[in-house]
Subunit: 346 residues, 2 copies
DNA sequence: CTGAAAGCGCTAACAT
DNA sequence: ATGTTAGCGCTTTCAG
């Protein structure tokens, strides 16, 4: 058995309890617990022993109020189901490791109103910084963020006006580049399958860039289909089947994300369609799941992990350095042709 | 343009600022902002207007210290990449909606030491409750939780001793039931593929229950293979191939989770193996991704969403009711035979 | 190296 | 319905 505290305290322990237990002033106890160096080794030991014996856990609320410092970084993202964001969060966590800062996550479900609420709620804890996805926010949200007096890093997307700093990729450009690759490979009858747009600004921008590039090449989308909710893999499968039935002469399908792309790929393989000869496919994100398919879906890596790392780096750096905010980092997504875009024109 | 505050405040605004701006005492401003009813409509309007105009965001740190109440619920889980936990989190979020409580998430990466650190860090914010995955914790973690004087709900697993309340399924029983179904279908040469165990107690317990049931039927595992890290879908594919080469006479593969199971299924389909005739397959979790495969992998739904909801319900209820803790809820995972276990013995 | 005093921004409890 | 007082548990600042 591990030694249990003498009495199970109903009232949480305070510094004073530790102070009395070891006969050292509250102030000195506080110093020890904050790892300050200006305490003699002897007292340090006594204090540490007492604190551990009692099972004392500091009250950060009081500490934060007194010191006006909160070691929290607010991270606001649209969703966890998406596969995209867990990777970003990992980048943030890793980069914050050892800085003394701790990330706290909030979810918006792609709803501006929810974002506003989440931000209000989280800012009221006076965090040291904010990282949030996207550049599109309500006026109230922007006002809150601008007025908070802390570093704000908008991530994922650089196509728009940042409040403070921004780390991401240009989704418009990503869409264009994919279009160029597809056209270069000789595909001409192109369909698009994606999420319902108003929710997802980045998917929308990719489509806009994609369409623009097609138009400049004298082409236009031959068919489009949108979905919302449900299993993305299944939706990809179903939408693909529907679209191929409706528009049989398509020679390329561009998916707004890898998950529906994977569903589409599975569908095509089962139907025995010649990919990429008769039909080309491409998704977006560089999701890990693509590694497990028998042939590699063309995609574009969205640099999600690096985005998280860089964003966290900015927040952490701004605490120490006296850098003025307003950093802008545009990453370049890597195009991966995989096995679903043919390598030369037919 | 939206109206911006007169001066961009370097110092965050306080109640006092609002008080002065509208000529009402700090106390009354505080009442209004907390939606208390004992304020005249007239003053309420004035206060609200002033607060909005200034862009005031309350300081919860001060509020929490004064009121000794923190509307936060700490949620500690091993991983976000797992697909399992986002669903649990959603259940928690939904159940907490409207209770005034807010979930805050922490990640342990399946590391006991990290769990201890995360708990220490989060408990120091004096949350109203804790929800954490699993029943296995370090002594120090248990001590902290027991001493925190708040509801503690351990989730996912009921096979063990709970600190306070517990909501989950019996993974041992889940393993047994799957074994019974497999044996009943006439399979006899059974292989197991899963995560490296020490990390994942629930996967370990499923395997233990599974093995026990086999033994009672006079059988034993014919082959086993473990993995760690990497793309689960790909690992499932690779491990399956390796195992079938090594032990060609296997007639069933039991996977510790659906993602590697899906990889295995894809592998078998490509090889043209007769599933479920010549070879049966089963996974665990009831993941959404299975919906997108051409044939349904047998699985067991882990009730992850309901677990989240019930756990959150306990934490929320304990605030209002004067219920003593120690609730125990065991959910029953539903066995889904899908298309990868044959329906009758050959 | 250690301690005493003051106060962080808010709210409970008590006036009025 | 509104105001006043005291203090939440800690850290800053200043003395010793």
């Amino acid at each position: 058995m591990s030694p249990s505290p003498p009495t199970a305290p109903r009232r949480p322990l305070t510094l004073r309890d530790v102070s009395e237990a070891c006969g050292v002033s509250e102030m000195t106890v506080s110093r020890v617990l904050r790892n300050r160096t200006d305490v003699s080794p002897a007292t340090r030991e006594r204090v540490l022993a007492a604190a551990k014996a009692l099972g004392y856990v500091p009250n950060k609320i009081a500490g934060a109020l007194a010191s006006q410092q909160v070691n929290l970084v607010t991270v606001v993202i649209p969703s966890l189901g998406n596969m995209v964001f867990p990777e970003v969060l990992r980048g943030i966590s890793d980069a914050l490791e050892g800085t003394g800062l701790q990330p706290v996550f909030g979810i918006t479900d792609y709803l501006a109103e929810r974002e506003e609420n989440v931000l209000y709620e989280m800012l009221s804890w006076r965090p040291s910084g904010v990282i949030l996805a996207g550049l599109e926010h309500s006026d109230a949200s922007r006002a809150m963020l601008a007025g908070a007096g802390i570093p704000v890093v908008e991530i994922m997307d650089v196509d728009g006006t940042a409040i403070d700093s921004v780390v991401g990729i240009s989704h418009r450009r990503a869409g264009r580049e994919m279009a160029h690759a597809i056209i270069a490979a000789g595909y001409r009858r192109i369909g698009f399958l994606g999420t319902k747009m108003p929710d997802d600004h980045r998917a929308r921008k990719r489509l806009e860039g994609f369409s623009d590039a097609l138009r400049e090449a004298g082409l236009e989308l031959a068919d489009t289909e949108y979905y919302a909710g449900g299993s993305a893999l299944l939706k990809g499968r179903q939408m693909t089947e529907a679209m191929l039935n409706r528009t049989p002469d398509l020679d390329f399908l561009y998916y707004s994300n890898d998950m529906i792309g994977a569903g589409g790929l599975l569908c095509c393989l089962e139907k025995g369609i010649d990919v990429p000869g008769r039909l080309g496919l491409a998704g977006f994100n560089g999701l890990e799941i693509l590694d497990g398919l028998s042939i590699r879906l063309a995609t574009m890596d969205a640099c999600r992990r690096e985005i998280g790392e860089r964003a966290a780096g900015i927040v952490a750096g701004l605490r120490t350095d006296d850098v003025i905010g307003g950093t802008r980092i545009e990453l370049s997504p890597r195009l991966e042709l995989g096995d679903t875009i043919r390598r030369e024109s037919p």
